[in-house]
């Protein structure tokens, strides 16, 4: 056999990237869920930020003479609660509290969980076994029971909420990232990075993390909703943000006593929770769609 003869110069300049314009065109396609989710969530955040501009009422100002006004009453678009506080104002200021706590409470479990998952998945062996056992133990308890127990021990307040949610929440991120790392570390780019002799922390943070973190980000969107619900639940149980600070959970709980005669008292803050959850779920969907398109 003789080697096939090459009839052209193998070093000739390669073909220009003729497909590039089409790719750019495709990227311009609409991502409806992402746009809708971001718009809705942006609106909610904007409304929360502009609370003082949107209402002249003080959310903690009581006025027993004006108690139990129905939505649509003069000066009180969404009515008043049992203590005569303006529901619209409480809803707006409640958004400030709940959104801040929910988003912040997701940041530390996200970071801690992702790093732990990265380490467990990459090194394997006994490190992975120990982390795996700890994760199993945390998961064995129902999420809310553990949160409630922790907040109860530490006393109500936002600090307790942050700590409790971090202690419980990191496991989900650790599991997601660990599973992704197990796949990614067998990929050739991970091996290529190892053959290049790069430091391990560099391979983990620069090559693996960016490729596995997407799932964790998508999950964090639903996790914000879960956290919001947890805060609302804690508020409902009297373990959340201490009164008189407005918060949706407390509002739902206060309305609960009058649910048969004044259904709107619980329903209005409930709808706020639903809308926020919906916007975050749409954002998560949009991120997945964007990633799949790439």
């Amino acid at each position: 056999m003789s080697a096939p003869t090459v009839a052209f110069d193998p070093l000739e300049p390669p073909e220009p990237d003729v497909l590039a314009p089409r790719r750019r065109l495709r990227r311009r396609q609409r991502n409806t869920p992402l746009v809708a989710g971001l718009t809705l969530f942006g609106l909610i955040v904007l409304v929360a930020l502009c609370a003082p501009l949107l209402t002249s009422h003080d959310p903690i100002q009581q006025s027993l003479n004006d108690a139990f006004l129905a939505p649509g009453s003069a000066g009180h678009p969404l009515g008043t609660d049992a203590l005569g506080r303006d529901v619209w104002a409480r809803l707006l200021y409640g958004a400030r509290v709940d959104l801040r706590v929910a988003v912040l409470a997701v940041v530390s479990p996200f970071i801690i969980g992702s790093l732990i998952g990265l380490v467990a998945g990459w090194f394997g062996g006994w490190i992975d076994t120990i982390i795996g056992r700890v994760i199993d133990v945390v998961i064995a308890f129902p999420f809310l029971v553990l949160i409630i127990a922790l907040v109860f021990t530490m006393g109500p307040g936002t600090t307790s909420i942050y700590v409790a949610i971090t202690v419980v929440g990191w496991v989900a991120y650790a599991r997601i990232v660990r599973a992704q790392v197990l796949v990614a570390k067998e990929q050739e780019y991970a091996m290529a990075a190892r053959v290049s002799g790069l430091p391990t922390w560099r391979i983990l943070l620069r090559h693996l993390l960016p490729n596995v973190v997407l799932q964790a980000i998508v999950f964090s969107m639903s996790d914000i909703v879960l956290t919001l619900l947890a805060i609302v639940t804690l508020g409902f149980l009297g373990l959340g943000v201490p009164p008189p600070t407005p918060d949706w959970g407390t509002m739902i709980q206060e309305g609960q006593q009058f649910i048969l005669s004044k259904w709107y008292m619980s329903t209005i803050p409930g709808l706020a929770v639903v809308l926020t959850g919906l916007s975050l779920a749409l954002i998560a969907d949009g991120i997945v769609e964007k990633a799949n398109r790439r």
């Binding site: 193998p10 000739e12 067998e186 290529a192 290049s196």
Partner: protein, 341 residues
């Protein structure tokens, strides 16, 4: 002179739930400084595993089961893992089959090339970027400054493989391990990429160990070949000698199964049967069941890889009891084919 890389009696096992596959069964090979060596064999012959084993990077159920790796005459197998890893990665880098998975999809290609100079060789950011642009030019990427900022998915397969070669060069290796570097490319791009590799070998004096199932590919880039079958090297020698006078029936049959534009034949030779099941212990020559020239001795005793005395182009090795009758194989096959017709 001590060769750059020596591998002696390398064994690799794969532990499965029901069996243990002995995938690499004693491979020995040598790569000299600046030399381009090919390792050919069919899928599953253990060539890629041998490559990964010598780097100490086997995926989980696969296990290094023995053998020594010598770098510049120094045995690195006994060193602590960290030290061995450093020594090996300082001397070698690797190119993979699929350039899309071999590149980090979320990192600009230029940054990926500049990474090793920056993080490993301690260059400054601007020096590292200059090195990257320079390497991109060397591997034949037009307009490297602009391509520096591209992501892997924005480049064509041939361009991506060039980027991989540039990354492999960025650590200033003395040996590049290439695992089927052109298999995922079409023939014209294949020829271009091989051209790049060949030129690097000549201009940069980088040694190469090229693993492929394609004899045509290795013959375009390598001067010496190892032929693997069922986890063992069955024949080795200089490219031209090996191709013109094969001394092992497997090499002989392989060459006969490829069309040769210079010699018209009516039919190409096929190798009947299939490679042996590596979970069983083998008696005799592993190729014997498929070998048209096998004798009782072949089925009973396993031939060692031995130097072929007096053959053209030493060092020449063959693992066959009957290599001295190699010149009669062609006639025998011709006669057999004529009889079948």
């Amino acid at each position: 002179m001590t060769p750059l890389l020596e591998v002696h009696d390398l064994h690799v096992d794969i532990s499965l739930s029901h069996a243990r596959l002995h995938a690499v069964r004693g491979v020995s090979l040598v790569v000299g400084t600046g030399e381009a060596v090919g390792l050919v064999g069919e899928s599953g012959s253990g060539k890629s595993l041998a490559l990964r084993a010598l780097l100490g990077m086997l995926p989980v159920p696969v296990r290094f089961a023995g053998g020594t790796v010598l770098l510049d005459g120094e045995d690195v197998t006994g060193l602590p893992a960290k030290q061995r890893h450093r020594k090996l990665t300082d001397a070698m880098s690797m190119i993979f089959q699929d350039s899309l998975t071999a590149l980090n999809p979320v990192m600009r290609v230029g940054d990926q090339i500049a990474e090793a100079p920056l993080r490993k060789l301690g260059k400054s950011r601007s020096e590292a970027n200059a090195i990257a642009v320079d390497l991109m030019g060397k591997v034949g990427i037009p307009d490297p400054e602009r391509r520096f900022r591209s992501y892997p998915h924005e480049l064509s397969g041939g361009m991506r493989q060039r980027i991989c070669i540039a990354i492999a060069l960025s650590t200033k290796p003395r040996l590049i391990l290439a695992d089927e570097p052109t298999t995922a490319l079409d023939v014209t791009i294949q020829a271009q990429v091989l051209g790049v590799l060949r030129r690097l070998k000549e201009e940069e004096h980088v040694a190469m160990l090229l693993v492929s199932h394609d004899l045509a590919v290795v013959s375009q880039a390598c001067s010496r070949l190892y032929v693997m079958y069922a986890g063992k090297v069955v024949e080795s020698g200089r490219l031209m000698d090996l191709v013109s006078v094969p001394k092992h029936p497997y090499t002989f049959s392989l060459l006969r199964s490829v069309p040769d534009p210079d010699h018209r034949v009516d039919r190409l030779l096929t190798i009947d049967g299939q490679p042996p099941d590596l979970s069983e212990s083998l008696t005799g020559c592993s190729f014997a069941p498929r070998c048209p020239f096998a004798t009782d001795r072949c089925r009973g005793e396993d031939p060692e890889l031995e130097h072929v005395e007096g053959a053209v182009g030493a060092p020449r090795q063959s693992a066959c009891w009957h290599f001295d009758s190699a010149d009669r194989w062609a006639e025998a096959v011709q006669a057999e084919m004529a009889r079948q017709r």
